[in-house]
Each structure stands twice: as structure tokens, then as C-alpha cells.
Amino acid sequence: MSEAPTAVLRAEGLVKTHHGEGAPAHAVRGVDLCVRRGEFVAVTGPSGAGKSTLLHLLGGLQRPDSGSIWLDGERTDAYSEARWAVERRRRIGIVFQFFNLVSNLSVADNVELPALLAGVSARRARAERAELLAELGLAGKERSLPGELSGGEQQRVALARALVNRPPLLLADEPAGSLDSKGTREVMRLLSRFHQRGQTILLVTHDARLASAADRVISFFDGRIADDVELGGAASPGAGVPAVLELRD
């Protein structure tokens, strides 16, 4: 078969309204989206634009009011909560702003847990964990508890946990949102590195610096896609750089 590569992730007509106290909030108002294998896509927009809700829908953490999602071409409408939980171990890795590590488990256990839950042997889980932690500069921290690590280190543990089962898709929800400038640069560098090795990434962020690491940026306003642009393409003007760095006469 010589058809175009299947989209890792596809969404059509996604709608989600939050009914809390007060007026209903239209978080996602009709979104069509396609993420191809190997792409690194950033979704940016002001807080409250609905971009986190969008990511939650795409990861099965929330259910849309209407619309459909396909993972690797497979329609997920009929997935149960349990099925989504399985997919979040196998096909989708997720990192969050506040890391969401299990606070009373060691770094090593936090990373190995999803592998063990996915039915991987203890030996292989250990091997995968050791490789990832070394790669992320966390060798020697295996026995630490998350609370003993800096924010940047905790986010790297969360990244290892999300990638331990080598999911085809990584979802990242404001991964640098609670980190300082140095931590942000670190996350940026690591996401770029995994992407260069072929990891498909969908990143939600309000941080334009982080978004610029992606090769495609979607601007999200008021529950809708306002713009969708490939960065670094042939038509992209790179002339901005000398001009912004140059000293004035």
C-alpha cells in the first residue's frame, strides 16, 4: 500500500462546553486537527482559550460533547474510560504542568510503574527506566522521592514516565508552566531532542519561546483555531534575526 502516512492523531468537529456555576463556558468550539507521524505541533493562546481542554479531549481525559477522535486511524468514540487508560499507557504519553508524580514512590518506581502496568517484564521496565533517566540527566536520582527534586528535575522524571512505553504520541500540557527560565530551556531542549529522533509531539503552551521549538504552531483563541502555520518552511523570512540582534548606529 502506498497511501499517505496515517495521522497519529485526528480530530473532527470537537466541541466541549463546561457547565459549572454561572454561564456555560464554551472551551472548544468545533476543532478539526490532524497530527502526522513525526510532527512536533504547538498549540498556543491566552489562558482560558480552551487549549488545555483540547489536550484533555485528545488524551481521553475528558469526553467531547460532539465530534470524533482517531488514534492511528482508529475511531475512539466507543472507547470506555478503561480503554482510554490503556491507550494512555500504550499509545499516548502525557506530561502535565504540575508533573503529577506519585509523591510516595521513588523516581525509579514512578517511571517503571506505567511499564509494569502495561505488562512489561520487571527486568525490561528497569532497563527502559535506567536508559531514560540516564538520557535525561537523572542517573543517581533513582531512589529520591519527587519532593526531594527541583521542579525541572521532576518534569524530567515525568517526561521519562510518559515515554517509558515508547508511545507514538506525546502530549505535553504547559510542561514548563511552573518552571523558571532555565527549566524552560531544558524542557525545550529535551522535547526537541526526542522530536529529532522521530517522537510525535503535541504541546500546549502559552510560552512563545517553547512553542518556537515546534515545526508547526496552532494559534488557539476562544475555543477555535485562529491560525495554523509551519515554521522554518521555505517561505519563512529568517531576516528577522540579524535585525533584532544588531546594535543601533
Partner: protein, 171 residues
């Protein structure tokens, strides 16, 4: 570039090409290098206004070179430069005026303008982050220059976002 050249001469006399190399070394490859012609022109102007003085030095097989040193007036101008604080960066006023006047001209849609400007900034941001991770990681001054540019650009992007939020609302 006038005052940076004066500042480089505060250390001691130097000729034009040395000053160009000093700037390059300080700011790294990321910085768009001033060409040697620009430097000679600026040095000529500085000499004319009495802030530096040049001395011809004979070279055996090449044309003479001119070695410059700071004058007392130059020293003073440099001290004054360090005494004053610098101006704030300005809002991108050209884009702002385009945006503000767009509805009256009927020539462009405001949201389209914002989207296009954002694409331009994002591409520049991407190039800057590439520079930051490229080969000048060891040059702290160059890193700070790039980081400064990125933070400014981020502020511009945040501001575009505010414009879009505001202008998409019905009046």
C-alpha cells in the same frame, strides 16, 4: 556603534581591524558582524568630532594602518554614556499604526494582520532558539544577547495575543 567603539578603545590604542575582531569575539557569531567599512567610517567620524585620534603606522609590505586612541573628550563622552540609563525599547510602532488604521483604510483585516505578524515573529523566534542552542553555548555575552532578543519577542507575541483577544470581541 560609536560608543561601543569608544568603549573598546578605553583599554588601549587599537586599529580598525582589531576592533572588529574584538567585537566579534565579545558578541559571538550570533551577532551580525559590522563590516570593516562601517567600522572605518565610524572611526573617521569619531576622529572628526575629536573623540579619538589616529596615528599612521608604516607597514613594510602593506598600506599604512592607523592606530586610534581615546582623547580626553572621548574619555568624557564614554563616562557620560555609562552615567546615563538607556531608553526603553519601543513598541513596534509601525505595526501598531498599521493595525490601528486598518479598519479606516479598508485595505486589510486586523486579525489577518495579526496572524501574519505572528507568523513572522514565530519564525524569528525559532531562528533565535536555534542560535541559542547552536555553537555559541560557551559565550555568555552572546547567550544573553540572544535571550534578551527572545524575551522581547515573547513580549511582542503576548501583546499580539492581547490585540487579537480584544479585537475579536464585538465592540
Amino acid at each position: 556603534m560609536r560608543l561601543p567603539l569608544l568603549a573598546l578603545l578605553a583599554r588601549g590604542p587599537a586599529h580598525g581591524y582589531e576592533l572588529k575582531q574584538d567585537l566579534e569575539q565579545l558578541l559571538g557569531a550570533a551577532y551580525p558582524q559590522p563590516n570593516i567599512g562601517q567600522i572605518y567610517v565610524t572611526l573617521g567620524r569619531l576622529e572628526k568630532s575629536g573623540l579619538i585620534e589616529g596615528e599612521e603606522v608604516e607597514q613594510s609590505s602593506r598600506p599604512n594602518k592607523k592606530i586610534y586612541h581615546l582623547t580626553a573628550a572621548g574619555q568624557e563622552a564614554l563616562s557620560a554614556w555609562y552615567e546615563e540609563t538607556s531608553d526603553e525599547p519601543r513598541v513596534r510602532d509601525e505595526f501598531f499604526m498599521k493595525l490601528a488604521l486598518a479598519p479606516q483604510t479598508g485595505l486589510a483585516d486586523q486579525i489577518t494582520l495579526i496572524n501574519r505578524q505572528r507568523r513572522h515573529y514565530l519564525n524569528t523566534m525559532r531562528n533565535l532558539s536555534k542560535l541559542a542552542t547552536a555553537d555559541h553555548r560557551d559565550n555568555r555575552i552572546a547567550q544573553l544577547l540572544i535571550e534578551g532578543a527572545m524575551l522581547h519577542l515573547q513580549a511582542d507575541l503576548d501583546w499580539l495575543e492581547r490585540c487579537q483577544e480584544e479585537l475579536e470581541k464585538p465592540e
